[in-house]
C-alpha cells in the first residue's frame, strides 16, 4: 500500500507538468499575445521590455522554454490591468487566503452535518423528517447560489436589522468593515493575522463577515452529500449482515453507526473529498455575491479586464487544487477500503 501511495504521489509530477502545458496552450488560443492586453495608455518602452522578457518575437518552443524557466523560478508573470505591475504570485498569495477562509468552514461542517442527516432520513424513511430533508436538499440543488446569497443579504441586512432595531446587525458584504485597519500581513489569513496581532475587534469583525457566505455555501453544498449518503445507506440496509446484526440483539444505534455507516461511507467519501476540493476552487459566485476579494472574483476581474497572466495563473492554481484533491481521494481510498487491490 505504501508503495502504491508513493507511486501515486510520483505520478502527480507529470500531471502537473501536463496541466501547465495545457494552460499555456489554451492561453495561446486567446486573441493576441500577452503584450496586447496592456491598456492603450501604457508606455511603449514598457511593452517592449515585456516582449523581450517573454521572448514574444521568437517561435513558440522558445516561448514555452522561457515560460517554464520563469515558472521554475517562481515568476508567473505580472498582472497588467487588475493590479498593475504586481507579480501574479504575490497577488495570488493575497487573494487565495480569502477563498480558503470562506471554504474551510463548510469543508469541515458539511460532511458531518450531511452524513448525520443522511442517516436520519434512512432511519425515518418516508416519514416527515425524510420528506423535509429531501425537500431541502432538492431546493439546495435547484436554488442558484447567487439568488440564495442575495436573499440572505436582504433578510439579514434589511428585515432582521429592522426588527431588532439595529442591535443585531450582521455585515452582508465585503470582508472587512470600511475604515478598519488591515492587520500586519504574516500569513495573509485575516483571522490568523488578527490573532497574531492580538486584536479581538479585528478578529470578531472578520468572523462576522464570514457568517453569511459560509451559511450560503453550506446550504448549497449540503444537498449532494445528504443524497449520496441516503442512497448508499438504503443499499446497505438491505444487506444480510444488517439483519444478522439486528437478530443478534445489536442496539439500533449501533446497527446504523457501526455496521451500516462504515460500508455506506465508501461511495460517499468520493463525493466528500471531490466536493471539498471543488468547493475550494469554485466559490466564484459566492465571492461575487458577497464581494469577497478571493480567487474567483480575481478570475472574473481578469477576464473582464483582459489580464493575460492572471487568467493563466488562476487556472493553474485551480488545476493544482484539483490534482491534489484527486491525490488525497486516492490515498484515503486505499486506507479506508483495503479490499481494493492495486498493481
Amino acid at each position: 500500500m505504501i508503495l502504491y501511495i508513493l507511486k501515486r504521489i510520483l505520478l502527480t509530477i507529470p500531471m502537473i507538468f501536463f496541466l501547465i502545458l495545457i494552460t499555456w496552450a489554451i492561453a495561446q488560443l486567446m486573441p493576441g499575445d500577452p503584450s496586447s492586453f496592456f491598456p492603450v495608455t501604457t508606455n511603449p518602452e514598457r511593452i517592449a521590455l515585456f516582449r523581450e522578457k517573454w521572448h514574444l518575437d521568437d517561435p513558440w518552443y522558445v516561448q514555452l522554454k522561457v515560460y517554464f524557466g520563469n515558472l521554475l523560478q517562481g515568476d508567473m508573470g505580472q498582472s497588467a490591468t487588475v493590479a498593475p505591475d504586481w507579480p501574479v504570485v504575490d497577488y495570488l498569495a493575497i487573494v487565495f487566503p480569502r477563498t480558503l477562509e470562506i471554504a474551510i468552514i463548510p469543508i469541515i461542517i458539511i460532511p458531518i452535518f450531511g452524513i448525520r442527516t443522511g442517516i436520519m432520513t434512512v432511519k425515518h424513511r418516508n416519514k416527515w423528517q425524510d420528506i423535509l430533508v429531501r425537500g431541502v436538499a432538492v431546493l439546495g440543488m435547484a436554488l442558484p447560489s447567487f439568488f440564495l446569497g442575495l436573499l440572505l443579504q436582504f433578510i439579514f441586512g434589511y428585515y432582521i436589522t429592522d426588527i431588532t432595531g439595529g442591535r443585531f446587525d450582521l455585515p452582508v458584504s465585503g470582508f472587512k468593515t470600511a475604515g478598519f485597519p488591515d492587520p500586519e500581513a504574516v500569513t495573509n489569513f485575516r483571522l490568523l493575522d488578527s490573532i497574531i496581532a492580538n486584536d479581538l475587534n479585528l478578529f470578531l469583525d472578520t468572523a462576522q463577515h464570514l457568517v453569511l457566505p459560509v451559511t450560503c455555501q453550506i446550504i448549497i453544498s449540503f444537498a449532494t452529500i445528504t443524497r449520496q449518503t441516503r442512497s448508499s445507506m438504503l443499499d446497505v440496509m438491505q444487506q444480510d449482515y444488517i439483519r444478522t446484526a439486528r437478530a443478534k440483539g445489536c442496539p439500533e444505534k449501533l446497527v446504523y453507526d457501526k455496521h451500516a455507516l462504515k460500508n455506506a461511507l465508501i461511495p460517499t467519501l468520493t463525493v466528500i473529498i471531490a466536493g471539498a476540493f471543488t468547493l475550494l476552487a469554485g466559490t466564484t459566485i459566492i465571492e461575487i455575491t458577497f464581494d469577497i476579494r478571493g480567487l474567483g472574483q480575481a478570475l472574473v476581474k481578469a477576464i473582464m479586464f483582459n489580464d493575460y497572466w492572471l487568467i493563466v495563473g488562476i487556472v493553474q492554481v485551480t488545476g493544482l487544487i484539483v490534482i491534489v484533491g484527486n491525490l488525497v481521494a486516492d490515498i484515503v481510498y486505499t486506507i479506508v477500503d483495503p479490499r481494493i487491490v492495486y498493481n
Binding site: 431546493l139 440543488m141 435547484a142 436554488l143 442558484p144 442575495l150 476552487a281 484533491g325
Partner: protein
Amino acid sequence: MNSNILETENNISSTVSSPLKGKSLSETIKNVGRFLFAKNYFKPNQTSLTLLKTPNSKESFKHYLRFLSHPIEKPPQFSEMEEKFHKEKSKRSLFKKMLTPLTIFGICILVFISFLAVFAPWLAPYSYVDVSLNRHTGSFLPPSPEHLLGTTALGRDILSRLIYGSRESLTTGLGAIFIGYSFGILFGIISAYFGGWVDTLIMRFFDLIMSFPGLILAMTFIAVLGRSMENILLAFGILTIPWVARLMRSSVLQAKNNLYIKAARTSGAKDFKIMFKHIFPNAISPMIVSMSFMMGGAILGIASLTFIGLGEQDIVEWGFDVNIGSSKLYTAPWAVLWPGLIIALTTLGFTLVGDGLRDALDPRNNA
C-alpha cells in the same frame, strides 16, 4: 375446420358442466389431459383472444389503447400469455410509478415555462422591442397596474422580461444539451466499441475535464473565445460532453456483449453499421433520464455566468436581470426576487422530473 372447432367446443363445455364422477378411468384421464392442454381449450374462443393478440395488424394502435384502458388485474388463465405483454406492462407500470406528486409538480413547472416561452408575444404585456430597447419609464418602479412586477434599472417591465427570458434560457440550455449529447454519445460509442488505447485516451482526457469545477472551465472558455451568448452555449455544451460520454460508454459496454451484435458481425456488418444501427438504439435509454438533470444544470450554469456579467448586455435573460437588480437590493427587492425565483423554479422542475424518472427506472424500487 369450423365444424371441427365447434365440436371440440361442445365436448369441452359438456365436460366442464358435468362432474368427473360416474365416468370410466380412461375418460377421466382424457378430460384431465384436456384441462392440462389449456391452449386447445381456448383456441376456439376468438373473442377472448383479440385482447391478447400482439399488435401487429392495422388496428395495432387501437389494440394498444384498449390494453392501456384495461384494468391491471388479470384472470389466472392468462398467466401463460404474460410474457408476451411484458413490454407493454412495464411501460404502463413505469408511467404509473412516475406519477408521484413531486414529479407531477415538476412536469407542471416545465409545461408552464415552455408555455411562457412559446406564447410569449401573447402573454407579455409589453412587446420584445419595449423590453429589450431602452424605453425609459422610470427605473426600479414598484409594482403597479402598468408594471405588475415593477421595472428594472432601465425602466423595462419585469414581467415581460421574465416571459421573454424563458425563451433565451430554454433555447440556450437546449442548445448546450444538444451539442453535449450529440458529441458525448459519439465519443461514448467509439470509446466503448473500440476499447484499447482509444478508450484510454478519450476517457483519461474526459476525466481531466470532469475533475475541474465546471464554472471555472466555462469562464476559461469565455476568456479564450470572447464574451457572447453563443460562446456560453458552446462552453456548456463542451462541458456536458464528458459526462454524457461516460454514461454512454457504460451503457454501450453492456449492450456490446449481446448475441445479436455477434450475429451482425458474423453476417459481415461494418463497424459503423454495428455501432449506430445495432448498439445505439439499445444503449440510448439511460441517457434520456440524465438529460433532465443536465438541462437543469446547464440552465443554472448559464444563469450564473450571465449573473457574473460574462453574457451580452442587450439580451433578455434572467441571470442578467438579477445582476442588474442586485445593485439596488434594499430599495428595489422585486427586481431581484422574480428573476431569481423563476430560475430556481425552472431548475427545480428539471430536477424533480429527473428524480422521478430515475426512481421509476431504478431496479431497486421495483420490488
